[in-house]
Structures are given as structure tokens and as C-alpha cells.
């Protein structure tokens, strides 16, 4: 269970500038094994919120609880997957090297880690590209590699920051289904940041809608669609359309 309690974040102003408030007060939770999306207008502080959740940024107020323990630094139970894989996968390491790198501090023999890396790559359909460098892969494949790194890290909680924002529509659908599949089969708890309403509804058990900056929670919209979901059928479902409409109205006003 991941609980975000009255989280607020202000950035101190430099050289006499007024301090900027990114997050006013945000509270919500992600149940164990749940898939929750964070949706909000661009610039509302979604990335700030995610960095606070995984302990990269210290909140100004409030706290983040992971299984009732307060998060004060990046916990090994969380893996963060960034928006831009080309700025997050290390280009001087191969795809497999990138995965081994985040496993260095983990216990286990070299051989075990090789196996973990190989399995993660197989899970995202990149088994044949272990020895490739990230820049030799397409944007979609780079994002798969970043996901594989997060999976191999062995974290129960996946935090994703608009991971599919920069790939084409078709690749995006493939990646959405891939993520939904591994999240379900490996019982991951997922917090997924996006600015795309359809994507949020399609993937999530619940969508947390944020207000414009400084962000508060505008509403939490449950998505009561059966899994596994199908890209075409789900998007035609009454429940999908209702959720979509509600969220649209929330973001519009």
C-alpha cells in the first residue's frame, strides 16, 4: 500500500524571487497490486509529485508511506521509469549492462543477476537485444529497455513518469498492453503519470485527477473495467466512456 498524505512542495525562490508552490496538498493512495494513474494539466507538478513519492525530492509538508514506513530516500521497493528513455538509459552501457548496473548493490551472484536481466529483457520482448546499445534501438524499444530495467530491479512498486509520451500511437498501444500485462502477471503496484485521459482510463483501476498548479486532488475516478482489457473493446465500453467524460469535465473547467 502506497499512501501519499497531504503532500506539499514549494521551491525556494532564488535571488529574492518569490518561492514557487508546485504542490498545494495532495493525498491519495495506491492499494497493493493496484494500478493508479495521476492525471493533470501539463505543468501542474506531476513530475515533482512523483519525485517526492520515490524520495528523490523532500516534500515541504506531508509524507509518503510505503507499507506504513515513511519514504525518506529512494527505497529499493520502488523503481522509477522516466519519460525520456534516451536521457535515462546510459548510452555507454549495453541494454543488459544498464540492467546489471542497477543490480550491482543487490545481493546474489553474478550468474543470478545475469538470469534476472535476461528474464526482464524477455518479459519486454527484447531478449535478442541484450548486447545492443540504447542508441541502436528505436524509441519504443528504448522505453521497453527502461521498463525491463525497472522490472529487473525487483521493486514491488513501479513509478512511471509519462513513459509513452514520445512514441508513435501504434507503439504506444503495444507498450500500454505490455505494461498492463507485466503489472498484472508480476502483481506490481503501479503509479502511472500521464497527461493522456484515454491512456489513464485504459490502464488504471483508478484515475487521480489533479488541479492546475499548485496541485490538489480534484477527484479520484474509479475505472470499473474487467481485465485483461482490449484496446478496441475497452475503449468502446460504456464505463470507459463515462470515466473519460467525467475526467474531461474535471480537467476542462
Amino acid at each position: 500500500m502506497l499512501r501519499i498524505e497531504r503532500l506539499a512542495k514549494s521551491y525556494a525562490g532564488h535571488n529574492g524571487a518569490a518561492s514557487a508552490c508546485a504542490l498545494a496538498e495532495v493525498s491519495f493512495s495506491v492499494p497493493r497490486g493496484g494500478f493508479v494513474s495521476l492525471l493533470g494539466p501539463s505543468g501542474c507538478g506531476k513530475s515533482t509529485l512523483l519525485q517526492c513519492v520515490c524520495g528523490l525530492l523532500a516534500p515541504s509538508h506531508g509524507r509518503v508511506l510505503l507499507d506504513d514506513r515513511e519514504v525518506t530516500g529512494p527505497p529499493p521497493e520502488m523503481a522509477l521509469i522516466f519519460q525520456n528513455a534516451s536521457a535515462s538509459l546510459f548510452p555507454w552501457m549495453t541494454v543488459a549492462g544498464n540492467i546489471r548496473f542497477v543490480l550491482r548493490r543487490k545481493p546474489g551472484s553474478k550468474k543470478d543477476k545475469e538470469a534476472v536481466a535476461a528474464k526482464a529483457l524477455a518479459d519486454v520482448g527484447l531478449a535478442a537485444f541484450a548486447g545492443h546499445y540504447p542508441w541502436q534501438l528505436s524509441g519504443g524499444m528504448q522505453q521497453r529497455a527502461a521498463l525491463a530495467r525497472g522490472l529487473a530491479y525487483g521493486a514491488d512498486v513501479l513509478l512511471l513518469d509519462e513513459p509513452f509520451a514520445s512514441v508513435d500511437a501504434q507503439t504506444r498501444e503495444e507498450l500500454e498492453d505490455l505494461l498492463a500485462g507485466v503489472a498484472a502477471s508480476q502483481a506490481k503496484t503501479v503509479l502511472f503519470v500521464t497527461h493522456d485521459i484515454d491512456e489513464a482510463v485504459y490502464l488504471s483501476d483508478a484515475v487521480t485527477v489533479l488541479t492546475p498548479a499548485p496541485a490538489r486532488v480534484a477527484a479520484v475516478i474509479p475505472v470499473d473495467l474487467p481485465r485483461p482489457r482490449d484496446q478496441v473493446a475497452a475503449r468502446e465500453d460504456r464505463r470507459f466512456l463515462d470515466a473519460r467524460k467525467t475526467i474531461h469535465a474535471l480537467l476542462r473547467h
Partner: protein, 253 residues
């Protein structure tokens, strides 16, 4: 191909003009001995092992100074790049010392280090230190924030990240600093040998000039030129291999 051929033609034409001017008495054959004479002298001195030995001494001093400078300047520069506090601490000192032309410290260095190898290594160190420091600091400062965040999110400690993330990410800039430092190191090594030494190619060139062994002097200059060419090529090749991931053959992202 055409360009390369024309380049050789220009080179040969210039050598031919020199040869003719010297043989025909247009210029003093004492100060400008025919190119063929210089070449013959060069061949003789190279075969006897005299030139290789003198050049070797100079290269060893330059390399020792360069290696020491790299060993100190790369870690310091990386720290300056990532830490604002560290930068504030060292910047004033660097800004004062950097514009000092390295030959200007040779007299001072002779006072406390004499005219032995230590003095030359120190002067080369001084000359090479700043370009390497600036390259490392600029490189570390410009590392994409995504790389640093990724390392932090996956629990990589700060010293570990400095060595395994910041250093390789700043690699191309560090390499540029080193490429600048290599010829400077050689220049300063030769100069320090001309001012105070009993051997080395710089000392040899000056001694030949003073004893009117002019073909030998030119042979020394040619040997030095050749050594410089090899050093630059070696630096280019070696550093290019280390930073291959950032090379021109990778597609843009």
C-alpha cells in the same frame, strides 16, 4: 583523394623549393642546409638511436606530467561540475592561475625543483592541469539531469555515481580537455628542456644550434614534429575509442 594528392604535391613543392634555394645559393646553405642533407642527417641520427633516446626522454617527462595532471584534474573537475559549493571553493583559485602562461612558471619551478626531471614534470603538470580541469568540470555540469536522477532513483551512491555515471557521461568533454592538454604538455616539456636541462630533445635542438650543427638541429625539430604528430594521433584514437558511444555513427535521438 584529389585533396590528399594535392596536399602531398604542395609539401613536395615546398621541399623542392627549399632544396633548390639552398643548392643555388639563394639562401645561406649554412642556415638552410638542403632538405636532402637534413633528411640524411635525420636518418643517421635516428638509426644511431640518438634521436629516439632524446625524444623518448622528452615524451616520458610530458607523459608523466600529463598523467599526474589527469589524475588530479579529472576528479577535481568532476566534483566542481556536480557541486556548486565545491565550484565556489575552487573557482577563484582556478581563475587566477589559469591565465598564467605555463612557461612563466619555469624560472620559479627551477628555484625549488632545480633543473631535473621533477621540474619538467611539474611544469607540464601545471600546463595540462587547467584544460583537463575545465573539460571535466564543464562536462560534469552538462550531464543530462536524467542520468543523475536515474542513478539516485536506483540507489546508486554519490561516489559510485560520480565514477560510473558522471565520469562516462562527461567523457567526451573530459576527452576534449585531454586532447588540448597533450600538445601543450609536449610544448612545455620541450621549452623547459631549452631553459634548464642536460638532455631531452629540447636541450638537443638548442645545443646543436649553439654549436652550429645546423642539419642536426633541423633533424631534431623534425623528430619532435613527428613525435607530436604521433602523440596527437594516439590521443585522438585512444580517446575516440573510450567515448565511442557519443561518436558520429550513432543516430540522433
Amino acid at each position: 583523394m584529389l585533396g590528399r594528392c594535392s596536399g602531398i604535391v604542395v609539401f613536395l613543392a615546398l621541399a623542392g623549393t627549399w632544396e633548390a634555394a639552398s643548392r643555388l645559393g639563394v639562401v645561406s646553405a649554412l642556415y638552410f642546409p638542403p632538405v636532402t642533407v637534413i633528411a640524411a642527417t635525420f636518418g643517421k641520427l635516428a638509426a644511431s638511436g640518438l634521436l629516439p633516446a632524446q625524444v623518448g626522454l622528452t615524451l616520458a617527462r610530458a607523459l608523466a606530467g600529463l598523467a599526474l595532471a589527469a589524475l588530479c584534474a579529472v576528479p577535481l573537475g568532476l566534483c566542481m561540475g556536480v557541486s556548486r559549493r565545491f565550484r565556489g571553493l575552487l573557482s577563484p583559485l582556478v581563475e587566477v592561475l589559469r591565465p598564467v602562461p605555463p612557461p612563466a612558471i619555469i624560472p620559479a619551478a627551477m628555484l625549488f625543483l632545480g633543473i631535473g626531471d621533477g621540474m619538467k614534470v611539474f611544469v607540464v603538470f601545471f600546463a595540462c592541469f587547467f584544460p583537463i580541469l575545465i573539460g571535466a568540470a564543464d562536462g560534469a555540469r552538462a550531464v543530462a539531469p536524467g542520468f543523475r536522477l536515474t542513478a539516485a532513483a536506483y540507489g546508486v551512491s554519490r561516489p559510485d555515481a560520480l565514477l560510473r555515471v558522471i565520469l562516462p557521461a562527461a567523457g567526451p568533454s573530459v576527452a576534449a580537455g585531454l586532447r588540448t592538454a597533450v600538445p601543450m604538455g609536449l610544448i612545455v616539456a620541450v621549452l623547459s628542456e631549452m631553459i634548464g636541462a642536460t638532455n631531452g630533445i629540447g636541450h638537443y635542438i638548442l645545443r646543436m644550434q649553439r654549436t652550429f650543427a645546423i642539419p642536426e638541429m633541423y633533424a631534431g625539430v623534425a623528430a619532435l614534429g613527428l613525435a607530436g604528430l604521433c602523440c596527437n594521433a594516439a590521443a585522438q584514437w585512444g580517446l575516440g575509442r573510450l567515448t565511442r558511444w557519443s561518436g558520429g555513427d550513432r543516430p540522433g535521438d
